[in-house]
Each structure stands twice: as C-alpha cells, then as structure tokens.
Amino acid sequence: MHHIYCPYCEEIREEEEYSYTGEAHIERPKDPASISDDAWANYIFFRTNPRGIHHEMWYHAAGCRRYFNATRDTNSYQIHETYKMGELPTVTAKTIAADALTALQGEVS
C-alpha cells in the first residue's frame, strides 16, 4: 500500500484515502466539434501507459477532496513527488535518466 503525501493537506496518508484517476496533463481539445474522430478517441481512450515514470492524478477522497498530481514509477512503485494541479512535475523520465548518467560519470571519475 502506498503512503501518499497530499500537497494540499501537507500530510502523508494511506492509499485507501485516495482514488486514482489516471494519467495527468491530458488536455481537453478546445473545440471538440472541429476535430476528427481519431483525435477525439485519442483524447478519451488512448494512454501512454509507460513502464517507468508516470505522471498521474490522484483524488484525496477521504481527505481534502481535491485532485493533485503525482510522479510515480510504475515499476518500482516509488512516488518521486506529488504536486498541486496546475504545477509541472520536477521529476520526469528525462531528469531521472540525466541523474543516472551523472551518478554513473561520478563513479567513473
């Protein structure tokens, strides 16, 4: 079970207080009527579903009842950060790869 830090309550709570609500940072098309069926399907149904770093929304159902985002590794289940809606993640697959490279170079030198 995850222990998740709610960025609004500023407390670590158990997973059962939260609901998972899927991939984050998916933007609703501004003018749905003007886009193709494929583009609409892409918005509604298609997901990146990565094996690794995933940005996702959680809902603090039994707490402040607000949505927030989390950056979590779907392999190790490590939660790297949680952040408020509207904010951007500081940890991404790119920063993780860059950190790993730096660590590796440190070992070599």
């Binding site: 069926d37 494929d38 609409w40 298609f46 997901r47 579903n49 094996r51 996702e56």
Partner: protein
C-alpha cells in the same frame, strides 16, 4: 512428436520415465520468419499452433523474454465461461468454449478442462435484474444459463452462507453449467508442444527490445539475441502491450494494472464448482490439488510490478469469509500479481495497426484465460489472411474512434 497415451505411459514406466522425449525443441532463432509472435503465453502459443495447424504457416517463431507460460498464463484463476452480455463478446468467448471441449484430444495433452459450472451471485435486486437480463441474452445466443434463487444456489453449494441477515445476502445467481476450470500451465505447454510439432520455433529467454520498420512496414524485431527478420509481427504481450506499441510510436487504449490471486493450503474436497460475486468482489474454486484458488481485484493504479496491495487481498478475503464462514480459518499459502492490460470497455483488441504487418492481440484485461484457444484461433486467421476473422472483426482498434464499444464492464459478471 511422440504421441502421449496410456500405452506410452506404461512403456516408459519400464524405463523409470527417464527416456521421455522433450516436449519441444529449444532452437536458435533463424534469420527470418514469415510471422514472429512476441509473447509466449497461452494466447501467443495458441496463435502459433492454429497458424500452423489451420493455415499451414509454419515458418513461425514465438519469442518470449522469460519462459513459456510464465506471465499471466501462470497467474490467473483458470476460470472458463462464456456468459457475456453482448452478442460480439459472447460469440467470441463461446467459440473459445467450444474449442476447450476437445482441446485435450486435439493437443494430445491433458489440459484438465473440467466443466464444473460457474455461479455468478447476485446480492441486490438490481444484481438479480442484471442477471436475468444477461441469462436471457445468453440463451438467445445459444449459451446455456439459468437464473437461480437462494435455495437453488444452496443446492449447488451447500456450504454457502444463505442467511438473509448478512450485509450482502445471496439472493440468487446465474448458473452456466458448461463453464468450468482448466489447468493453466498445461494449456500453455500443450499449445507449445503442438506448435513445436509443426515446426514452430519457440525461443525463450529472448526479449524483444525494438520493432524495426521501414517505410511504414514491419521488417523484423531487435532482440537480446540479435535482429530477427519477419514479414509480420504479432504482439501478444498482455500487460506489456503499451511498451511494445511505444516502440513504434503508437499508443493503445490500454492501462496496465496488477491483478492479484492467491491460493490456500490444500484441504479436502469441499467446493466442486466456481463461485463468483461481482458485487462483493470474490471468486473462489478448489483445485484438484485441494487448494482454494481465490481471485482478488486489480489495484486502482497503473503498475508493472507483478504484485499488488494488501488491502485488495483483505477486501476479497473478507467477502469470502462472509459467504463461506467455514473458510475463515483456512490459511493462505501464496499470493501473487499479474500485470493485466485493461481496456476501457473490458473487451480485447484483436487488430491490425496503422503499420503494415504489425498486429496486436491484447486488452484481455482480467479475463483472458478463458479465451486462450478462441483468441489464438481467430488471431491466427487474422494474421494469415490480413483480414479479421468474422468473430474478431468487432474487436478492431477502430472501435474507439467509431464509438462501437462493446461494454462488458459489470454486464458480463466480470468482477473488476
């Protein structure tokens, strides 16, 4: 391939069973194949078997990163049924059930298919209305089913708690008598042995790390054993389908989640059918070995970890203890998770893609085991003819754009 029989068993007993032929070869990959199937689980192996047997395409390799049948094939709760609500789904699963009936004879391998019936319990008036609707739909599609009341359920499962004073009393059930269970490992091994006998190469410990395309068409796969050329590549990789799709820049309407199951210590025969409950989320059967085989739920979040949360197990076991108070002191032996590829409409994707020669068979989610032979059979047709088998046609990936979803969530008594 040497045929298995009572006589061969006797013959080999004379040499202490030390001279059995290996069930399949372990070949090195050739330079090129007509078809490469990525994923050596039940569905992938069944696809290879039917490609060779029905369509005569034998220049085929099954490439598996671990060992055959080591993923979700080894991790499910082995239930086989076809009582789905919608025409498209019920026809597909019933096609599979038909193949199950003769599968042991067809493969010359005992898959221990046991038609011991499946109960889907109802606990509320709405449950019972849904059950009646589903059973009626099943019967119109030629699938056997009856609606039982509490006494009817009690007659089939005398140990069930039929008290009307519990939180979710058993008001009745749907009963599909032709449903049942099968031995999951044997299914993978039987298909593997059958495919191998037609000359299909089963390549284990070989991970596909990239799908290579040229001008919008597949030319092969890059693997940990080097490049292997192929005219067609078929991904049958369940939870890892999104990872495979990302190799060619595609996305799928799929999210991968851990689904858990667990077994108890072996006990004497007590439950001779399969009991499922959608509403309280429990399903349980007893294996021939005597252990209770229990399916828990999926975790709510995406994960590739092949393990799940403890609270999910606790939830299922509390439901089972209420339905079967006598199980409350049975100890659980092992628990595990499999990564299931859940689709928005709880139905599979059996489809071509925008890339020529690249096919996907995925999205079976939490209920793919029952479909193993049928899935392989229709997918082999799709691969051989470059055109969907009539039963597979509704399961094209296009349905997410056309809106023709086949919504089997809940409707099918799917317990997730």
């Amino acid at each position: 391939m040497k045929k298995y029989s009572g006589f061969s068993l006797f013959k080999h007993s004379l040499s202490h069973h030390e001279n059995w032929q290996a069930a399949w070869r372990s070949p090195q990959p050739k330079k090129e194949y007509d078809v490469i199937i990525v994923g050596g689980g039940g569905h992938g192996l069944a696809t290879a078997y039917y490609l060779a047997k029905v369509h005569g395409i034998t220049n085929v390799a099954v490439v598996e990163k671990g060992y055959l049948g080591g993923g979700n094939t080894a991790r499910n709760t082995t239930i086989v049924r076809s009582n789905y609500l919608w025409d498209e789904a019920s026809k597909l699963y019933d096609h599979s059930l038909d193949l199950w009936k003769d599968l042991s004879q067809d493969l010359n391998y005992n898959v221990m298919f046991s038609q011991r019936g499946v109960l889907n319990l109802g606990h509320t008036l709405q449950d019972m209305r849904d059950i009646e609707r589903r059973v009626n739909a099943n019967r119109l599609n030629g699938i056997d089913g009856v609606v039982l009341d509490t006494a009817g359920v009690k007659e089939i499962v005398p140990i069930i708690n039929d008290s009307q004073d519990i939180r979710y009393p058993v008001l009745g059930a749907s009963w599909q008598a032709t449903a049942g269970v099968a031995r999951h490992d044997a299914v993978a091994w039987g298909f593997a042995r059958g495919a191998d006998s037609f000359g299909v190469d089963l390549i284990q410990q070989c991970e596909v790390v990239d799908i290579v395309t040229e001008e919008g068409a597949v030319v092969g796969v890059k693997t940990t054993l080097g490049f292997i050329g192929a005219k067609k590549v078929a991904c049958v990789t369940a939870g890892n389908s999104g990872v495979m799709a990302a190799m060619v820049g595609l996305r799928l309407p799929i999210e991968s989640r851990p689904l858990q199951a667990l077994v108890s210590e072996p006990i004497k025969p007590i439950l001779d059918t399969v009991v499922m409950s959608n509403a309280v989320h429990a399903y349980v059967s007893q294996s021939d070995k005597g252990d209770l085989v229990i399916g828990a739920g999926t975790d709510s979040y995406n994960g590739y970890g092949q393990r799940g949360s403890f609270n999910v197990v606790e939830h299922t076991l509390s439901a089972i203890c209420e339905l079967f108070p006598m199980f409350s002191r049975v100890r659980m032996n092992r628990a595990w998770g499999g990564v299931v590829d859940t689709c928005p409409d709880a139905c599979p994707i059996i489809s071509k893609t925008s890339i020529k020669g690249l096919f996907f068979n995925c999205g079976w989610g939490t209920g793919g085991f029952k479909a193993t032979p049928g899935s392989g059979h229709v997918f082999a047709h799709t691969l051989a003819h470059d055109e969907a088998h009539p039963l597979a046609a509704p399961f094209s990936i296009d349905r997410f754009s056309t809106g023709h979803l086949i919504d089997e969530h809940g409707a099918a008594g799917v317990a997730h």
